[in-house]
Amino acid sequence: MPTRNMLQAINQALDIAMAEDEKVLCFGEDVGSFGGVFRATSHLQEKYGRRRCFNTPLVEQGIIGFANGLAAQGSVPVAEIQFADYIFPAFDQIVNETAKFRYRSGDLFNVGGLTIRTPYGGGISGGLYHSQSPEAYFAHTPGLKVVVPRNPHQAKGLLLASIRDPDPVLFLEPKRLYRASTGEVPDEDYQLPLGVAEVVSEGSDITVVGWGAQMEVIGKAVALAEKEGISCEVIDLRSILPWDEETIAESVFKTGRLVVTHEAPRTGGFAGEIAAAIQERCFLYLESPIRRVTGLDTPFPLTLEKEYIPDHLKVFEAIRESMHF
């Protein structure tokens, strides 16, 4: 199987989707001939023409508004927001429109064809406006699906599934891994399921849950823990909304311990939802409090980014504390 990085996997997914269905359109700021500032849409304009892959004016609320209209009409827009930090001008179009389109019309109209791609997360010296992880904002929005891949193979399969899913999907791409994460990616068309978490590695002492770039961090933390004889079950949530409570709960029934980690600030972050649901579901099985390893309740810093980030050592310590509670 060919080895690709995450950008190449995403580019290939877009290419496959556009080749298969001429209703699929890719657009956003600098997405056209330039191929996007990260080059996720490279060569798509060349291959599919300016009408199907194009630059938009610099207006996120317009990009998503336009995309909502296209999707309602029956097209399959894949809109790019250049950085997740810049998705907020489109918040109304996403939260009040995209998410509620089908519901409010009683299914007369829907924007299920819409996929919004956007790079998120820290670790790239981006400071407070090129590092945010906004998944929790969208996870509080029924009607949306929110998906985050952890590596190139996942990215391709989940993005193809998102584009073809009958519901609108916000596809958050961990930009720190764009080029850093490489792996085998089949050339063929394939999909990975939405709404289903993946048990990445089995274990018996403690469950560790994350998504996106944080899975790499968890990998390192777990390696340290295993050295101390702690057997970790690692779960990639993959879909933040709807999320796979079942798989996490099954794991916690077995391990009795849970650590959840994300980069976003702690308060109101999605780890809170997981902890709340799992303590209710697995109350009698829990042997220690569910621990969250997250960003501080502050904006994202720059110079002291390394200190801020919930890295493998912090996750490792949380695992340890949970074991020794």
Binding site: G62, G69, A72, S75, S105, G106
Partner: protein, 402 residues
């Protein structure tokens, strides 16, 4: 892109240099104005238009009265703006998409939305296409190419650009007309939609109903320029201001706009100058922010009357017909209303359907919990409890989805 000529003194330009005339065809008495062409409008179409105008008037009157009687929770009238809304709609192909704001029921009446369909939405009953989820007047019809109304203002404007772009790619020669108020035109989404449509050459007609007010806010506190029309220049878009109370002018202007949109794939802006004769909504009392005298001036410019004068002069409408028609409409509205308000609410499952294409496991679980709870306290949730009983007839609720 920019013009080449130079100046060597710093002379600021002001909007005042650009003067925007108003296009009119009919006098208030219903006569063609000097220099105005008689639009190509045959008897049948003219009558279809007028009947929609009349139906709008009657529906609005009756429903506002019902709201005052406490039978309906909320209502919004189109009164005063029937020409703007119906004139624009009549100039379209019936398969063109209309994305409205909320005050455009005339468009639906023109296209054939039945009084039944109106009432089911207004009462949010089991036959409401929207399944009783939105406030009254949030109509939608897929078969009539009328996008379901959404309360957040301005959001439909960039959506219309996208919808029209999709129509262009589909190549069926259709376009989208998007209605919005002069208030909504202040939203960021207006700027976004206008610019996106212009840059990407979407066949969309931006139709601004400038009715002087956004709730209590007069247009003088909404913008400082000469209305909405000159904004088109900032987007390289063609524009026409039209007397919104002049049906023939609106009709003709929109025909022309449609031609530009569909033949040239260019967006167009129309600003219809009109007046909201009624309150903003049933929750509003305009006496707090405008004078009776001002209202009176505009009442004399009644668009329905003006068009009726013209029709009568063509011998296409008579006082008799007017009377009969009004009576039929009134009766129809009242009978239908009585039926609609008695209809059961949408099924309990409508609480969780259409959030996603398929009901998620989590929602199914939440529904089970809710159902169990209602069974425990049936008297506290009379609607919900009733819905839990199996019903004999499975009613068809999909007409709007054709």
């Amino acid at each position: 892109m920019t013009t080449a000529h130079e100046i060597h003194t710093p002379d600021f330009l002001s909007g005042n240099d650009v003067s925007i005339p108003t296009y009119r065809v009919l006098s208030q008495a219903g006569d063609l104005l000097d220099g105005a062409d008689r639009p190509s409008l045959d008897r049948d179409k003219a009558r279809r238009i007028y009947q929609a105008m009349l139906a709008t008037r009657v529906l609005d009157e009756r429903m506002m009265a019902s709201q005052r009687q406490g039978r309906l929770s909320f209502y919004m009238q189109c009164t005063g703006e029937e020409s703007a809304v119906i004139g624009a709609t009549a100039a379209l192909d019936d398969a063109d998409m209309i994305m409205a704001q909320y005050r455009e029921q005339g468009a639906l009446l023109y296209r054939g939305f039945s009084i039944d369909e109106f009432m089911n939405q207004l009462f949010g009953n089991e036959l409401d296409y929207g399944k009783g989820r939105q406030m009254p007047v949030h109509y939608g019809s897929r078969k009539l190419h009328y996008m379901t109304i959404s309360s957040p203002l301005g959001t439909q404007i960039p959506q219309a650009a996208g919808y029209a772009y999709g129509q262009k790619l589909a190549g069926e020669g259709l376009c989208t007309l998007v209605f919005f108020g002069e208030g909504a035109a202040s939203e960021g989404d207006f700027h976004a939609g206008m610019n996106m449509a212009a840059v990407h050459e979407a066949p969309v007609i931006f139709f601004c109903r400038n009715n002087g007010y956004a709730i209590s806010t007069p247009s003088s506190e909404q913008y400082a320029g000469d209305g909405i029309a000159p904004r088109a220049f900032g987007y390289g878009m063609q524009v026409l201001r039209v007397d919104g109370n002049d049906l023939l002018a609106v009709y003709r202007a929109t025909q022309e706009a449609r031609r530009i949109a569909v033949e040239q794939n260019k967006p167009v802006l129309i600003e219809a100058m009109t007046y909201r004769l009624a309150a903003h909504s049933s929750s509003d009392d305009p006496s707090g922010y405008r004078s009776k005298k001002e209202e009176e001036i505009w009442r004399e410019k009644d668009p329905v009357l003006r068009f009726r004068h013209w029709l009568t002069a063509q011998d296409w409408w008579s006082d008799e017909e007017e009377k009969t028609q009004q009576e039929i409409l009134r009766r129809d509205v009242l009978d239908t209303l009585k039926r609609a308000e008695k209809r059961p609410p949408p099924p309990l499952e409508s609480l969780i359907s259409d959030v996603y294409a398929d009901v998620t496991p989590a929602l199914k679980e939440q529904m089970e919990t809710l159902t169990a709870h209602i069974r425990r306290y049936p008297e506290a949730y009379p609607k919900g409890a009733r819905l839990l009983e199996p019903t004999e007839d499975t009613r068809d609720n999909t007409q709007g989805g054709a």
